[in-house]
Symmetry: C2
Subunit: 289 residues, 2 copies
């Protein structure tokens, strides 16, 4: 592997690696492209092994390391883990293996965004089952804002709705009510969260529907924009930010299903995609147990 043979020599011209268990991380890529349009990006979605949320911590670490190695072999100058599960479980292992390549997750930026947005310190985290159960968001928020009252609600159907491209209409509103009516109890307005943190990369496409159902006065934040700001800061501080081209290239890699990646991914990236835009790569060849 190139990683072992050549020492890390970051160049401004190198691309930024972005890794997710599937297509949800494209909401993060979208924010990165808006914030850092001059950069080249290589995005890898491990679609053959998604979802990570139901896997054991050992498997998640192994899969994340394999994905990151492939991006490292492509010479990325830094690595963004655009997957909540991998950010919560594999960030330390990735940081250690790829040092001095900077590795950024989405969890801490998300928690930071929620803490900045809240007015009364009442934050509701919406995430997948495993993220809620792991408690990493809750811990990251209370570390920053010790008095915060954090509610966490697993909303697994949001993932299915987002993947199906159903982002508004009565079904979506019905699902939102069923998940959140117990959090926003009528007559108990004082105990309502003032901030919703979308703790899953799939959820930002449902933000308009959430805003409509919950009405004004609730801040809805996600990790994407804050992660982009954190990445911009890292690039600036290390002299790695690119300024020599007006717009960079995007390379999309997946481990299975180019057609589905393109069709579902278009919802998350917010632009049309074709199967030909997606290169299929193999992370776990038979010779690597």
């Amino acid at each position: 592997m190139q990683a072992a043979k050549t020492p890390y020599q970051a160049t401004r011209e190198a691309p930024i690696g972005v890794f997710d268990s599937g297509v949800g991380g494209l909401t993060v890529l979208r924010a990165l492209l808006e914030r850092l349009p001059r950069e080249d990006f290589v995005y890898l979605g491990d679609t053959a092994r998604l979802p990570y949320g139901t896997k054991s911590a050992g498997s998640i670490r192994q899969y994340s390391l394999q994905a990151a190695r492939l991006l490292h072999e492509r010479g990325v100058k830094c690595l963004v883990v655009a997957c909540n599960t991998a950010s919560a479980i594999a960030l330390d292992a990735l940081t250690q293996e790829f040092a001095p390549v900077p590795v950024l997750g989405v969890l801490e930026p998300g928690a930071a965004a929620a803490c900045r947005a809240t007015r009364r310190g009442r934050i509701a985290v919406l995430a997948t089952e495993s993220t809620v159960r792991g408690g990493a968001y809750q811990a990251a928020i209370t570390r920053r804002l010790p008095g915060a009252v954090v509610t966490a609600r697993a909303c697994p159907l949001f993932v299915a709705l987002a993947e199906e491209g159903w982002t508004d209409g009565p079904v979506v509103e019905g699902v939102i009510h069923r998940y959140l009516d117990g959090v926003f109890v009528e007559g108990a307005e004082d105990s309502h969260p003032d901030t919703l943190l979308l703790g899953c990369t799939h959820f930002p496409v449902l933000a308009p529907a959430l805003a409509q159902v919950l009405g004004p006065g609730i801040a809805i934040v996600d990790s994407a924009a804050t992660t982009a700001a954190a990445l911009a800061e890292v690039l600036d501080s290390r002299g790695l930010a690119r300024s020599d081209q007006p717009q960079g290239r995007v390379t999309l890699l997946a481990t299975d299903g180019a057609e589905r990646f393109a069709r579902v991914g278009a919802v998350f990236l917010g632009r049309p995609l074709a199967a030909e835009d997606v290169e299929i790569v193999d992370l776990a060849p038979a010779s690597v147990a």
Copy 2:
């Protein structure tokens, strides 16, 4: 492996092996228990690697063989593949590897049930995306009933609803309408299907809601009861049916997440389950590439 050391000697007393990618196959186990209450069953859900539907055919065959080997090592007298994807893709490989152990899938029994139920030869198959795209149900139906008009509709949100335990109410009805209004077009009653085949093991728990939305006159069939009947016939014809105990034992194995298996699986099996009821097994140890 025991399979290689000892020749196959089926005994009546041996358990029946049932294998699925996760918990959905428990709807099949439920039908088997109703039909064959005297038998012992060993059910294995490959929850660490679900869903199979998005994986490549090679991976699905490999995973299915690994799962079946574990059941074979436990001395099962026959094997039921309670997973549509594995039935469609891996049945030949399984039959070949484990002969003379009988191997039954759910696809052919499901197609047979639909062909028996239909009055006008108009059948709608509801399944996952990969099953619909693979076309195996459509082919199995038209092989049996050459003049049949088969519509197939991917209903991926049904899986999420079933896993969440949401089996009735306005959200469920809204999802059913969104998927099926294009199949049951008002004013075109002559072209309506008269039979719905539930081509995914998750879907039977939604059958009551489907019946309510679609009204009378639509037959709703699934693979479970027909697979149980086929299994009973195989056991009878080989002299393997058990009659020496009034009620058999059920052993539940999973490759990850006993707590989630128990919680979600209870919906499908139709009885309470605790995490302690589920034994975690490893199908892919590091030494087996």
